[in-house]
């Protein structure tokens, strides 16, 4: 645990990629394979089920440190992280042990899942008593299932490939499914991960997907500057669907559906995993809800994601489809090195040979020049898509955000925007702990909404929370205003006198009976502080509702009539 805690510390302390890479290599070059296996699991984003509930962690740590609950809460407010708070309030350890990570996990942490609270309490007291603050912090993160550190999976891959002297692509492929909770990390699995390349590499894939190739956001519009991307004929252009990125894998008579987060979602979308592809086929695409020949808003897909069991009513009401846009494995061969245009033509053959409604070939967008393509892009919203994907016709299928062997650009439409008023603030977490960084925004509601209603007094209705988009300097400024204009404190939340207007951007909007404003927005974030606008000049709820997609608009506008004030 000491080595792993030190590694965590080093990764956490530096923002430099090279510094992180060095720290990873130092760690993996000297730890035992069993410990390395667990380290890979956690660094690659593996999340074991929470071993001990937050409630017990709080209770046991206050008991051990002899402080009352209110004082724990004060500490938590100042620290902004549960594990860190606990690590600091516990009394100093009486002795220190050096038990390796794998033993901690397999012999000490995982067995606690089936223990009684009394036994758990006893075990925790003794564990806490043998670790210094930094190790305690990491231990609690592992126990609570909240371990997270600023390294990308790709960087772990790179460190291992440099240590093992193997191509990063091979390590990345072998690491697919590594964090699957069904498989416990082990020395043996780690040894296979870094073993010399074998000719049977391909057979070891089981049902695993390939590492996803990710697109880069396009910063300069080719419509404004046609030179940016050169000849439009060198680009394969598709719509960018707003769904779940996934790979459909068919091998050995079985199929698997994997999300981009490498979660196995085969059972969630039976109409997609049930498509019978030829053996040895892997298709990359986007899962969407498909109605009347076009994609439904993301809100509909959300109704499917959260469900454990799928009733036939849900399946009928929200039918899913897989929009296929790339072919990664064909007739049992990895074809990711073949150029985009060729993969596309083989994909077309595969999709056309299977005629099922749940499998749709992603249509190509055809335009003679960038200007006319830009005009088509402006129709994105009415097509329920997020914009366009531009793929170099000669691109190989890369790993993650690589650019070396061809590139994918995402050319998204501009977000919806609204000018809203800051009404509540809450302190942030992590590096923003003790600063007010999480804000609730409101727009003006004119009160009575029907003709027969007398117009009531205008009031601010909260509609979104946002915490990203400001620089540290701006946060410091807003934090100071919040402290100065606080009206009331409710626990960690402060209500403030409305004085600041922000431009809020968001990706989508849908009616929502659960929100006071009657609408819910997707990915809200702050675009800028509108110092030039007075609170009175902020936008209204009616303006927000006018942004609802057509099928919703009428319903939302009528349902607000007669709703309680």
């Amino acid at each position: 645990m000491r080595d792993f805690a030190r590694l965590y510390n080093e990764l956490d302390a530096t923002t430099a990629t090279l510094g992180k890479l060095e720290a990873l290599k130092r760690y993996f070059s000297h730890v035992e394979p069993a410990n390395a296996a667990w380290a890979v699991y956690f660094l690659a984003g593996g999340k074991p089920r929470q071993t001990i509930s937050t409630k017990f962690l709080r209770q046991f740590s206050t008991e051990m440190s002899g402080i009352p609950e209110w004082l724990f809460d004060e500490c938590y407010q100042a620290v902004g992280d549960l594990a860190e708070t606990i690590a600091h309030i516990l009394p100093p350890p009486s002795h220190e042990t050096s038990i390796p990570l794998a033993n901690w996990m397999e012999e000490r942490i995982i067995p606690l899942r089936n223990e009684t609270p009394e036994k758990t309490r006893e075990a925790l007291f003794s564990y806490w008593n043998e670790l210094e603050t930094q190790q305690r912090f990491v231990l609690i993160k592992l126990i609570s299932g909240a371990f997270r550190v600023g390294v990308s999976k790709l960087l772990v891959v790179r460190a291992l490939s440099e240590l093992a002297g193997l191509d990063a692509k091979i390590i990345a492929q072998r690491m697919m499914g590594w964090t699957d909770s069904a498989l416990q990390p082990s020395a043996e699995r780690y040894s296979l991960l870094i073993a010399a390349q074998s000719e049977f590499e391909h057979r070891n894939k089981d049902g695993h997907p390939y590492p996803f190739f990710l697109a880069h956001p396009l910063q300069i519009s080719p419509q404004a500057d046609p030179q940016v991307l050169g000849d439009i004929r060198q680009w394969q252009i598709e719509w960018k669907y707003d769904g779940i990125r996934a790979q459909l894998v068919q091998r050995n008579g079985q199929s698997w559906l994997w999300s981009r987060g490498e979660d196995l979602i085969t059972d969630r979308f039976p109409e997609i995993s049930g498509i019978s592809l030829p053996d040895g086929t892997v298709i990359d695409g986007e899962i969407v809800i498909w109605k009347n020949g076009s994609p439904a808003p993301f809100a509909d897909l959300q109704k499917r994601i959260g469900r454990k069991s799928l009733s036939s009513r849900i399946l009928n009401e929200f039918p899913a489809a897989f929009i296929a846009f790339d072919l990664l494995e064909h007739r049992g061969q990895d074809i990711r090195h073949i150029i985009q245009s060729e993969r596309r033509s083989r994909l077309k053959d595969v999709v056309c040979s299977i005629d099922v409604p749940g499998l749709i070939l992603s249509p190509l967008v055809d335009a003679p020049d960038w200007h006319r393509l830009g005009i088509m892009r402006n129709t994105s919203r009415s097509r329920a898509v997020e914009g366009m994907m531009l793929k170099s016709v000669s691109a190989q299928y890369g790993i993650g955000r690589t650019k070396e062997r061809g590139i994918w650009w995402k050319w998204k439409i501009d977000p919806y925007t609204v000018d809203a008023v800051l009404v509540y603030a809450q302190r942030g977490h992590g590096r923003r702990a003790s600063l007010y960084t999480d804000y609730t925004f409101a727009v003006w509601d004119s009160g009575g909404s029907g003709d027969s209603d007398p117009p009531g007094e205008r009031k601010l209705v909260p509609f979104a929370k946002a915490y990203s988009g400001l620089t540290d300097r701006e946060i410091a400024r807003v934090d100071a205003v919040i402290r100065r204009t606080t009206i009331e404190k409710f626990g960690p939340v402060r209500s403030v006198r409305p004085t600041m207007v922000f431009e809020i951007g968001f990706e989508g909007i849908a009616p929502s009976p659960r929100h006071k404003a009657g609408v819910a927005v997707r990915f809200p974030r702050m675009l800028r502080i509108r110092d030039d606008k007075k609170v009175d000049e902020a936008d209204t709820l009616d303006m927000l509702k006018a942004m609802l997609p057509n099928p919703y608009r009428k319903a939302a506008l009528t349902s607000s009539v007669g709703s309680p004030p």
């Binding site: 956490d12 302390a13 530096t14 923002t15 440190s65 402080i67 009352p68 209110w70 004082l71 004060e74 500490c75 100042a78 620290v79 902004g80 992280d81 860190e84 708070t85 600091h88 309030i89 100093p92 977490h429 992590g430 590096r431 923003r432 702990a433 003790s434 600063l435 620089t471 540290d472 300097r473 946060i475 410091a476 934090d479 100071a480």
Partner: protein, 356 residues
């Protein structure tokens, strides 16, 4: 010298009260660390939030005299050695070491058999740059609470100096300067006094060097330090430890050190959030204030039945002390607005931006 003749009983209730100008001793007719200009001010130490300009008469502990004069200019200053006393309007006043910075003092006030102590800022762990904190028994103790939460528990400073040495040595071996941000008065000298000066040259920013001179004159042992103009070539910077005030971050003064590693030394560095906000390579947890166990030990040791809490986590401390059977209350003060306090911490959040 005779004070106003009024009913003594009124004064017996509270020897020190909070007024808009600052903490006021009514029978003595003087203020302690006032934040608005007054006639008579007793100063606990020379940090800017406690020692402000504009008072007519100043009284302070002798070891802090030169620092006060260098910061406040030509003031009318009387001094007392630690433990020496003076009677002012019937109130016996003496200074006792607070262990915070050179010349820092607790102020003991005795009047008609009752004793009050105003702590100023204090730290219990001894350090080589000032007299160690002395427990002064009293009836009422007015304490600071900058780090008044149980999460704050310091490691021994000697361990922190070791960590700084290791960091500096490893940078020096790679030919990178080590820029250590810390407050110029107190923290800088404590670090200079505690580190291993054989690792490489030490370069001090002018703000710290001014204080170094006063510390050296007071007989405090500090290693030789250079200013940037003393260093003959840029090559000399590469193995150097650079002591720099936080305000110098992102300044042209720092750019000359090229690709340096940076660190920040402060009690606030205990928390990951604060470390990440600073966005420096290392955070060294080194404070000139008492940690939570220190505050509790100091309060208990005075034997005071009544405790009044000033700047810091005031509400928390008051509630905790009350739950532990002490008569605790709070004074609103304007301390902690300058050096190591939260507000300053928040306002300096942006500091790395200009520094990137």
């Amino acid at each position: 010298m005779a004070g106003p003749r009024r009913t003594w009983g009124v004064y017996m209730a509270d020897l020190v009260v909070a007024r808009k100008e600052g903490l006021f001793c009514e029978p003595g007719q003087f203020y302690i660390d006032p934040w608005q200009p007054v006639d008579r001010a007793i100063i606990t130490h020379a940090h800017a939030d406690h020692a402000r300009p504009g008072h007519t008469h100043y009284l302070a502990a002798l070891p802090g005299a030169d620092i006060l004069k260098s910061r406040l200019g030509d003031i009318q200053l009387e001094t007392l050695a630690y433990g020496e006393h003076v009677i002012h309007n019937g109130v016996t006043v003496s200074f006792h070491p607070a262990g915070h910075v050179l010349g820092s003092a607790q102020v003991r006030l005795e009047y008609r058999g009752e004793t009050w102590v105003v702590s100023g800022d204090y730290k219990l762990e001894p350090d080589g740059t000032c007299d160690s904190f002395e427990t002064v028994p009293c009836d009422t103790f007015i304490t600071e609470s900058t780090f008044g939460l149980p999460i704050y528990r310091w490691q021994a400073a000697s361990d922190i100096f070791k960590d700084i040495n290791v960091w500096w040595r490893s940078n020096a071996e790679k030919g990178r300067a080590s820029v250590l941000f810390c407050y110029a008065f107190g923290k800088a000298q404590r670090i200079l006094n505690g580190i291993d000066n054989s690792i490489g040259p030490i370069i001090c920013h002018g703000a710290a060097e001014t204080l170094n001179r006063i510390y050296r004159n007071a007989g405090i042992s500090l290693p030789d330090t250079l200013t940037v103009s003393d260093a003959s070539s840029k090559a000399g910077f590469r193995e150097a430890l650079v002591i720099a005030p936080p305000s110098s971050a992102g300044s042209p003064w720092l750019r000359r050190f090229g690709d340096y590693s940076d660190a920040f030394a402060s009690g606030w560095m205990l928390l990951r959030g604060a470390r990440r906000r600073r966005a420096v390579d290392r955070g060294f947890v080194l404070s000139d204030h008492a940690d939570w166990p220190g505050l509790m030990r100091a309060i208990t040791a005075t034997g005071a039945q009544r405790v009044i809490v000033t700047h810091g986590h005031v509400d928390v401390m008051v509630r905790w002390l009350r739950e532990n059977s002490l008569d605790a209350s709070a004074f609103e003060t304007e301390y902690g607005t300058n050096e190591e306090d939260n507000a300053a911490e928040n306002e300096s959040v942006a500091f790395k931006e200009s520094h990137a």
